[in-house]
Symmetry: C2
Subunit: 151 residues, 2 copies
Amino acid sequence: MRGALTAFLATLVAGVMAIAYAQDIKSDRSIKYRQGALTTMSWQFGMLGAMAKGERPYNKDEAIKRASYVAELSKLPWEGFGPGTDQGAPTKAKPEVWKEPAKFKDLQDKLMAETAKLEMVAKTGDEAAFKAQVGATGKACGNCHDDFRAK
Amino acid sequence: MRGALTAFLATLVAGVMAIAYAQDIKSDRSIKYRQGALTTMSWQFGMLGAMAKGERPYNKDEAIKRASYVAELSKLPWEGFGPGTDQGAPTKAKPEVWKEPAKFKDLQDKLMAETAKLEMVAKTGDEAAFKAQVGATGKACGNCHDDFRAK
């Protein structure tokens, strides 16, 4: 009887450990995925920021290309913030991401709207409008960081 | 005279250090950018791989969406392998990246051709063709890793 109980408990522990391990792997990969997507977007957007600030020469074709990358990239990170991905690898995501999903979603939608507009404005070749829209897009990044990313 | 020489040397050393620092920051950012882009692509492609292996249910719309992400992402990492970015942050990129640029470029082009084809095939809704093309795309990833990424 005790042997059977021990065997049962050992199986149970092994099962729980396997689930925890799988969860951990998944969470770890999700965190790295979302950080990768955000880093990629930030780097491409940084090039547009440099252009808007005059640190890099304005070039319409380059602006269009990078704005289209940023618009596409802005759709990606959110899938990496699934349930249980608040831990598993070092992350600056605040608990608010999972506590205030509607607010988080709203700020994602606003960012995607601004990046879509950025791509549209880049295509017009209107340099002043492009620079203004780089500012508006950067603000949308910052609005989300303020509440959902730790310093 | 000695005072002037000392001042000159101090300025020179400060200048060289400033250049080295700027180079390092830039290199560090490029390395993190390319790793971010590759991680993002790999995660999205992993979802398609799971679909092709039957670990995730085949869904035409999801396949199209992820294949379009992968096709777009496959254009991005290469800009992060600029001159001087062989060091500056931990990297698995082999010295061959900078020693054999034509071969490296050729494998990038082949990957981009396969991911473009993957997006096209996903849109047909032909599940068998899609699975075969996931395999061909994965092979294009591996071909480059074999020669240009350390284990």
